[in-house]
């Protein structure tokens, strides 16, 4: 590219968010940027990782890329004291395996024991449901479903379950970002498991809500746990939310315990469980869950820096 084809730099190059024009990047990488522009470009490159990466890529794609790689390898040999093997020729694009995104490496620590525990709860629920031919196990599983994922997050990653936590908390991604990623991973695994298990369990003709109706309470409980973990740490937050959810169940069940079973159902347990479900998932209950979720999400955004504060757990 010749100099007269290079577009002028934006007047706001020093402004936050501005980047070098592509022409400048190419010209700088090839050593052809005019001297009077070079100072501005270098000044910007020192402050802007995005443009530094762009120059890096342009250099590597350019005629000196292979030579730079050789230099890098020989430098690494000298630093490490071990001959660095020359890389094999790049495979053809059809043979190249897709490279997983780096954030995916953050999700591999999930403890199989916790995944197995959730699978066991679901499996036993299906087994009891099938054997008893009663809707009680299904209702119980659905009522407990919102707290199972948060306990799984705490058990897999909370407190001392993360062996690398001491370093993780000193990194930029070690706060809310990794917590959200791990929570999403658990939900991706747990929600289909719980939904599938509920679908396999007998309903006994009751006018039950679908398993999907429970996603909103599940979201509310998860958000409450995330928010509480910014104060208490993930284990204490999960336990607090779990106890709080069970207390809510008890409060909703108490008025039903003294009532006779509803017509068409002789089973008092089913009557009580179904009564709780009706109260939680009717229009009023669903609206409350939606509003509370919105408030919790807003609070979570406001408290996002507290997940990475000094001494955060």
């Amino acid at each position: 590219m010749t100099e007269h084809h290079i577009p002028p730099a934006p007047a706001t190059l020093r402004a936050a968010g501005a980047h070098l024009p592509a022409g400048w990047v190419c010209a700088y990488a090839l050593g052809r940027l005019a001297e009077d522009r070079r100072d501005d470009a270098e000044d910007h490159l020192l402050r802007c990782a995005h443009c530094a990466d762009a120059v890096d890529d342009a250099v590597r794609r350019g005629p000196y890329g292979a030579r730079l790689d050789d230099l890098h390898r020989s430098l690494m040999d000298r630093v490490s004291g071990v001959p660095h093997p020359r890389p094999a020729p790049a495979p053809s694009s059809s043979a190249r395996r897709p490279v997983p995104p780096p954030w995916l490496s953050a999700t591999q620590g999930l403890r199989l024991s916790w995944l197995a525990a959730v699978a066991c709860v679901c499996g036993l629920g299906v087994l009891f449901g099938r054997l008893s031919e009663s809707p009680a196990p299904r209702l119980t599983l659905l009522l407990l479903a919102p707290v199972l994922p948060v306990l799984c997050v705490a058990g897999s990653y909370g407190g001392r379950a993360d062996p690398f936590a001491e370093v993780t908390r000193t990194t930029p991604a070690g706060g809310l970002r990794i917590l959200l990623l791990r929570t999403a991973q658990i939900l991706v695994v747990c929600v289909p498991l719980l939904t599938g298990a509920a679908a396999l369990m007998p309903r006994d003709g009751l006018p039950s809500y679908t398993s999907a109706s429970w996603l909103l309470p599940c979201l509310t409980v998860t958000l409450a746990t995330l928010l509480l973990s910014s104060y208490l740490g993930s284990w204490a937050a999960a336990l607090t939310t779990g106890v709080g959810w069970l207390t809510l169940m008890y409060v909703l069940a108490e008025p039903l315990l003294g009532q006779p079973a509803a017509a068409g159902s002789d089973d008092r347990v089913v009557h009580v469980l179904e009564g709780i479900q009706l109260k939680l998932l009717d229009v009023v209950g669903t609206t409350v869950f939606a509003l509370v979720s919105a408030v919790l999400a807003e609070l979570l955004v406001l408290r996002r820096h507290d997940f990475s504060r000094l001494g955060a757990r």
Binding site: M76, P101, P102, G109, T171, L310, G311
Partner: protein
């Protein structure tokens, strides 16, 4: 790069660090002291894993109490705690990619950085091995590799050579000396060992949470050496 003023840390009512004043620039610095002298606590505060009870800390010219500045510090920080674990099902490569991702490295640079950091500690051949198959010394090398994967401007190492054989120790010294040319490396150890004489330019000796000495190694020797400052355990 590191500046503390009257830094105090209390744990369960006990004063662990007492009015610690430090000013460290680029280079390799030793942090010495007997067990329980507050070295690890000081490193945790400098690594932004813990906050001071009193006093001020400035790292890389930034205030770690301010969220945006704390983020910038953490991007430029490498930290090897005395005790750490690895996810057993990760390969060495997975783990180093994870460490690089945690430090906000651009995706396009991670592969090269992972290979460079593995080469620096002699783990290139082990990149595909699961961490649970590694020996204690190799795990320590993975720990060092994760700490330098982002070519940190501030590198904090707590007892980094524990479990390393002499060859690896020499390689580690080369690595730390190289990093010390442009970065601030603080190396904590409870022994006045070869690590200190081989790579460090100066030393800070902590005794009972207070700075008992700060100066060059020659000045430390002139003052009677480490043993003269540290009461026998």
């Amino acid at each position: 790069m590191i500046r503390t003023e009257r830094l105090c840390v209390r744990r369960r009512g006990a004063l662990v660090l007492d009015s610690v004043d430090l000013r460290l620039g680029p280079g390799v610095h030793a942090l010495l002291g007997p067990n329980g002298s507050g070295k690890s606590t000081l490193l945790r505060v400098l690594a932004t894993a813990a906050g001071p009870t009193e006093g001020a800390v400035t790292l890389l010219g930034r205030d770690p109490r301010v969220p945006a500045q704390r983020l910038e510090i953490r991007r430029r920080l490498g930290y090897l705690p005395q005790e750490f674990g690895l996810f057993p099902r990760y390969t060495v490569r997975d783990f180093l990619v994870y460490a690089a991702w945690l430090r906000d490295m651009p995706g396009g640079r991670i592969d090269r950085a992972v290979e460079a950091s593995a080469a620096r500690v002699g783990l290139t051949e082990r990149l595909g091995h699961r961490t649970k198959t590694l020996s204690g010394g190799m795990k320590q090398r993975v720990g060092i590799a994760q700490a330098v994967v982002n070519s940190p401007e501030l590198l904090l190492l707590d007892e980094p050579t524990v479990g390393l054989d002499p060859g690896q120790r020499a390689r580690f010294h080369t690595l730390v000396r190289e990093l010390g040319r442009t970065s601030c490396v603080l190396l904590s150890t409870h022994l006045m060992a070869e690590d200190v004489y081989d790579v460090c330019e100066d030393a800070t000796v902590l005794v009972g949470g207070r700075v008992a000495f700060h100066g060059t190694l020659a000045a430390l020797d002139s003052a009677g050496g480490y043993d003269a400052l540290v009461p026998p355990e």
